[in-house]
């Protein structure tokens, strides 16, 4: 019996790697620490009532943000481990298998469990407030989305200590990921973790599209919509149409692995290239899903910190929409070397270059917005300014990669690695950080320290160029992606060493952000006005942090940049409060169901990972029961009495 358990445990838990034992200890200590602190401070009920069961978009946004920052830490540590291994030739810091697991985890986490939730954090925090709405269209579904993301990410991260991490790259190409070559449960963790959080992403896409189309304040026509909201519309359209392709690809691969099907095997009529095709039908639009909202953030930031309305609002909207459609016609450029016909490659090459045009329009519009503006170099603006040259370079190398014949030279080399890090860090991560700094006072009621933020900014930016510029050269010198070591004869040592230094500088930059947050919690400047940046859109018209119901009176919108227009007319929501009587406010009730349902999804996913079908079935049964309970729930709304609204507004000094 004991032998039996021991042999089970030695397969179940990841063993034999000192770094993982150290992490095991750290994880256990961290969990014990959290449990102890919550019990000691008697905060369990608070955690359940205020956070886990919440359907408030602002709190869900904060939970997304915390998760995203934690995931950024994990993905960043993975990056540093890889750069440490590659700093010098013939190192044995990581073996091949371990290196494979780390680059797989790094890629998957950074795009799916860092960039996506970070965006959803900003969607949640800013969109309803910019629209003058009291919540999203489907608050319950919003909570479901978050918890599905959370448990999907948890399942994926669990592979680190239980069962073993996936090791076939974030793209997970078959036939390598088929059972014949990849027995372990690692790949299953990848498939199920992404699948579960993908359901949440899909729901978020629908939720925010409906919110923006249906929940705008009176007078806010589509052409008066803040550009961030427009970018969310574009992003949500892509989510809705692109995610099903990923769902299908992952589901078919899972059926191959758990039910011995042959969709993507080499034999029995399977075709592995079909997975690659389906993966990129999602995969390329995915990069626009993450970068378009970043464009929206830059538009808000540029306009606010230049003190001017955005230049070329209409062309901004049109180019967002063009990108959201054309982004479906470019996916094959990820596998030009597959051997498709010249016609296919030419079509997708031209489409890939075309998409640079609307992007260029946007860059010029940002520059013209700054032209003759009174620019304030606050943190969000700094990151925006850093984005423009960085993204321009990433775009130029993207055009180089889009030239199909030339791509045969660069394909899967470090040139590609440098290119997509430049667009995804320079485009997306900079935008996310700009958005975080911009909306932080609205989320928490205090600003982040500028001085520490500048240190973070410079370390991160200089580190970025030191890290990735050498990689373009390494690509030209023949270094391919995913190699875990190289010999000194290749002549790659010096560039690799420089690149690793850059990675560490970026790591220091991240630490400065952590210090900045911790320092500002205690000493950060409190935002008492609700409008610390002299903003232009409606979220700055209310108190920071926003009260539970957001707007005591729903504002009337008469112009684009609604809050700026109100200020120009000497109007404010405080005056509206004084003029008009308070009314009861209709709000959704908190619910524990989304959390419980996501736990069942997690149980089911865990069962599928280890082929324990009784557990998988049990989990799915639980999910079904949760849905039935929800369908029969007629008591999901309540009214905040007018007196309570008045009291809250009075306490905020807004009557």
């Amino acid at each position: 019996m004991f032998e039996h358990i021991r042999s089970f445990a030695s397969h179940f838990f990841v063993t034999g790697e000192p770094m993982i034992y150290a992490s095991d200890v750290a994880i256990v200590l961290f969990l014990v620490g959290i449990i102890f602190t919550l019990t000691y401070l008697k905060k369990w009920k608070w955690l359940w009532r205020e956070w886990i069961t919440t359907v408030d978009h602002k709190k869900i946004g904060i939970m997304y943000l915390i998760s995203a920052l934690l995931m950024m830490f994990r993905g960043g540590v993975d990056a540093l481990l890889m750069r440490t291994q590659l700093a010098l030739p013939n190192q044995t810091f990581l073996d091949a298998e371990h290196y494979n697991q780390i680059f797989t985890t790094h890629g998957t986490i950074m795009i799916l469990f860092m960039a996506m939730p970070f965006l959803f954090a900003l969607f949640n925090i800013a969109v309803p407030l910019q629209l003058g709405a009291r919540d999203v269209a489907f608050p319950f579904l919003n909570s479901v989305s978050f918890w599905l993301f959370f448990f999907g990410a948890l399942l994926f991260n669990l592979s680190f200590v239980i069962g073993g991490s996936p090791d076939a790259g974030w793209t997970s190409y078959p036939p390598l990921t088929e059972l014949g070559f990849d027995k372990g449960p690692g790949e299953n963790f990848y498939l199920l973790g992404i699948q579960i959080s993908g359901i949440g992403s899909m729901a978020t896409g629908i939720n925010f599209l409906v919110t923006i189309l249906k929940m705008r304040a009176p007078g806010m026509t589509l052409m008066r919509l803040p550009l961030f909201c427009w970018s969310v519309v574009a992003s949500c359209i892509i989510i809705i149409f692109a995610f099903p392709a990923l769902t299908v690809a992952l589901a078919l691969l899972l059926i191959d692995r758990v039910a011995d099907a042959h969709f993507f095997t080499m034999l029995h009529g399977g075709n592995p290239m079909m997975f690659i095709n389906l993966f990129w039908i999602w995969g390329h639009p995915e990069v626009y899903i993450v970068v378009l909202p970043a464009y929206g953030i830059y538009s808000e930031v540029v306009s606010t910190f230049s003190g001017k309305k955005i230049f070329g609002y209409k062309t901004m909207v049109i180019s967002l929409m063009i990108i959201s459609v054309v982004s479906y016609f470019v996916w094959a450029h990820h596998y030009f070397t597959m051997g498709a016909s010249a016609g296919v490659n030419s079509f997708f090459a031209v489409a890939s270059m075309l998409i640079g045009i609307p992007t260029g329009v946007k860059v010029f519009n940002w520059l013209f917005t700054m032209f003759r503006g009174r620019i304030q170099l606050k943190l969000p603006m700094l990151w925006t300014l850093a984005f423009i040259p960085c993204f321009a370079m990433g775009g130029a190398t993207g055009i180089m990669l889009a030239v199909a014949p030339a791509d045969y030279q660069y394909h899967n080399s470090y040139f590609l690695i440098a290119h997509f890090h430049q667009t995804l860090i320079g485009g997306v991560a900079f935008g996310l950080l700009a958005g975080m700094y911009y909306w932080w006072p609205k989320m928490f009621g205090f600003s982040l320290n500028e001085r520490l933020g500048r240190w973070a900014f410079w370390f991160f930016n200089i580190g970025f160029y030191v890290c990735f510029m050498p990689q373009y050269f390494l690509g030209f010198m023949g270094m391919t992606r995913r190699v875990y070591t190289y010999s000194g004869d290749t002549g790659w040592t010096s560039f690799n060493f420089i690149s690793s230094i850059g990675a560490y500088l970026m790591g220091i930059g991240f630490l400065f952000i952590v210090v900045q947050v911790l320092y500002s919690i205690k000493y950060g400047e409190r935002d008492l006005t609700g409008d610390p940046w002299n903003g232009r859109t409606l979220e700055w018209a209310i108190a920071s942090p926003a009260p539970h119901y957001n707007f005591a009176h729903i504002p009337e919108v008469t112009e684009r940049d609604a809050w700026w227009d109100m200020k120009a007319r000497g109007e404010s929501l405080i005056k509206v409060n004084q003029r008009m009587a308070f009314k009861p406010i209709h709000m959704p009730k908190n619910s524990g169901l989304p959390f419980i349902m996501a736990v069942f999804f997690f149980i089911s996913g865990f069962g599928f990972v280890f082929n324990w079908y009784w557990m998988a079935a049990l989990g799915l049964l639980g999910v079904g029961i949760c849905m039935i309970v929800r369908s029969n729930n007629r008591d999901s709304e309540y009214y905040i009495p007018a007196e309570d609204v008045e009291k809250t507004e009075a306490a905020l000094g807004r009557v």
């Binding site: 149409f241 095709n277 459609v325 479906y328 296919v344």
Partner: protein
């Protein structure tokens, strides 16, 4: 939010019929694929036809295609949907013809 105020039939007969139809269409497609009763070309054409029917079933039985009480967003939505579907299906078929060239 105000689901309770809308009028609901006691039994969701429309949804059940839709669900039955979509399952039927799926199983016919699987049967055609698994049985090898027909050559590849005809199977492909029939499955594409079934897919179009499936879209129609989804639109009418589940996606409230005939209901509207405001600007007709779903015309735009449908247009984008059709563009994307054609792009994905036609693009995939075109890309995957590389097999015939390789062999």
């Amino acid at each position: 939010m105000n689901g309770s105020t809308q009028k609901h039939a006691l039994f969701p007969i429309k949804n059940v019929i839709g669900f039955g139809l979509s399952l039927l269409l799926t199983f016919v497609a699987i049967a055609l694929g698994v049985s090898h009763a027909l050559a590849f070309g005809p199977v492909m054409m029939i499955i594409m036809g079934l897919a179009v029917l499936q879209i129609i079933v989804q639109l009418f039985f589940f996606m409230h295609f005939t209901e509207s009480d405001g600007p007709a967003y779903h015309i735009i939505g449908l247009a984008i949907g059709i563009i994307n579907t054609i792009a994905i299906i036609a693009g995939t078929l075109w890309i995957m013809t590389f097999n015939s060239q390789v062999h």
